[in-house]
């Protein structure tokens, strides 16, 4: 009962924080210079990790799907099936997991430290709103960088699949030619929507957890731990919900093949 109450409280708190940030954004109180600074701080430094992970995710998907297809003599479908699965589900989720570990943990630890060392209280007493000055630029920086990194990561996963296909004896050209047969515009839209939603989740969860850290260095540790767990849980939950919604919509509009 207590755990459920805490979850509702946390979820409600995150919605309120995001609403306040949206409201401040519409009031044009966003400081873009700070956003750009934060994008470089958290986003650019994650590019190498995202590319490396993306290459391997693409390769793993190609390998695993090839194993299944061989049994049916259907290797010709490898490019399309592997890319579709990666774009629609595995790619966004795995890369979001990685980013929640790097960008999310960094942001919650930074904000948590600011809270427990009274930097946020100092801001309040100097007459400013910490949500406007500290949280807002970070939320948008994490949303934008996570979204862009996810898109880059997804492109790299496709590339990783193409490269690995050559290693397992599938012609790269036929692999690529097979992609448009199965991957539809709907798959691309779904992967972009998922990337954006996961970016928002990572941003809001990590900022909320850091902002509400209490009790010295132990409190920061708890905030980072809680941020990681909540990120993973909600990414999986939202992946399920978005997949369900997409499946229903595809059935209605009959635009998908898978």
């Amino acid at each position: 009962m207590e755990a459920s109450r805490k979850w509702v409280q946390t979820f409600g708190g995150m919605i309120l924080l995001f609403s306040e940030c949206l409201s401040l954004t519409f009031q044009k109180k966003i400081r873009w210079q700070q956003v750009v600074h934060q994008i470089f701080q958290v986003g650019v430094s994650s590019l190498g990790m995202t590319i490396t992970a993306g290459l391997f995710v693409g390769a793993i998907m190609a390998l695993q799907i090839d194993v299944q297809l061989k049994d049916f003599g259907a290797e010709a479908f490898l490019g399309g099936l592997s890319t579709s699965t990666t774009l629609r589900n595995v790619g966004p989720v795995l890369i979001a997991f990685l980013l929640s570990g790097k960008v999310g943990a960094y942001t919650s630890a930074e904000l948590g430290t600011m809270e427990v060392t009274e930097q946020l209280n100092a801001i309040r007493l100097l007459g400013a709103n910490p949500v406007e000055y500290i949280i807002l630029p970070r939320i948008w920086a994490v949303v934008i960088s996570s979204f862009l990194l996810l898109i880059v990561g997804l492109m790299v996963t496709i590339f990783g699949g193409v490269i690995f296909a050559e290693f397992i004896g599938v012609n790269a050209l036929s692999y690529v030619q097979n992609i448009p047969r199965i991957v539809t515009g709907w798959s691309l839209v779904l992967s972009v929507v998922k990337s954006f939603v996961f970016g928002v989740l990572i941003a809001v969860i990590s900022c909320y957890k850091g902002y509400h850290a209490r009790g010295g260095s132990v409190g920061v540790g708890v905030a980072v731990q809680s941020c990681s767990v909540t990120n993973l849980m909600l990414i999986i939950l939202f992946d399920f919900l978005l997949s369900m919604a997409a499946s229903t919509l595809e059935d209605i509009f009959r635009v998908g093949y898978l």
Partner: protein, 246 residues
């Protein structure tokens, strides 16, 4: 004037403040003494509305401190300047940006030149050179960070100056230098000052009046001279400790 009336606060099942009442007239320097964990900092945070009381009321000047009314709270905070126990400087920006933060947030100084002039003036006032303007807090010593924190608070020209354990974590030389600085500021600015501390030497040296907290209640309220001759057991312990220390 600061008015604290029947202030009570409980954390968990521990009553930290129990019906605490006192008034600080304008221009007075009050020291709040007590052992560690007795609720001195909690009292200070109530005054600036960082903590909501369970019972009682607080007035700062003409304004009531009401944490449920953000607009009124903002007006109270605009009159106050709190120097935290630890420097609490924004570690992602330079010393200049730290000191200029309040000026910008409160819209006190208009253009960049004016802000720069005020920042430099406050740094000099607290005994720092403007060569540190572009440094980050982590590049400064703890004592210098503490001074920057005081400069940041003074920059917004508060009517009420509040210090939370200003000499915590400092050696004797730094403590003495910081006490001299606080003493100079109190005399120079003539603003109402509240210093929360367990440093009796500083209290006897700087304050107009001392309040002693024990078990959430005020057990002594009077001048430093009266404190020296007080019969209150905790006051005697502080005086004996002070003499032993010297």
């Amino acid at each position: 004037m600061i008015l604290v009336e029947n202030l009570s606060k409980t954390f968990g099942n521990r009553k930290v403040l129990d019906q605490v009442s006192f008034t600080i007239p304008s221009g007075q320097c009050l020291f709040v003494l007590g052992k560690s964990g007795v609720g001195k900092s909690v009292l200070l945070k109530h005054i600036v509305g960082l903590i909501a009381p369970d019972e009682g009321k607080i007035r700062v000047g003409e304004l009531e401190v009401d944490v449920k009314d953000p607009r009124a709270l903002q007006s109270v905070r605009k009159q106050c300047g709190l120097v935290f126990q630890f420097p609490a400087l924004l570690d992602s920006v330079t010393v200049f940006e730290n000191v200029a933060f309040g000026l910008r947030a409160r819209g006190i100084a208009g253009n960049t030149d004016e802000i720069e002039t005020r920042v430099k003036k406050e740094l000099i006032r607290v005994g720092l050179e403007d060569s540190i303007l572009e440094k980050y807090p982590a590049q400064l010593s703890y004592v210098a960070q503490k001074r920057v924190s005081i400069a940041r608070t003074l920059a917004v020209a508060p009517d009420y100056l509040l210090f939370d354990e200003p000499t915590t974590g400092m050696d004797l030389v730094a403590t003495s230098a910081l006490n001299s600085l606080i003493q100079k500021l109190v005399r120079e600015l003539r603003v109402t000052t509240v210093v929360v501390s367990h440093d009796i030497k500083s209290a006897l040296k700087i304050s107009d009046r001392i309040i002693l907290l024990e078990n959430g209640k005020i057990v002594f309220d009077g001048s430093p001279e009266k404190f020296k001759t007080s019969d209150v057991k905790l006051a005697r312990e502080f005086i004996v400790g002070c003499n032993y220390g010297s």
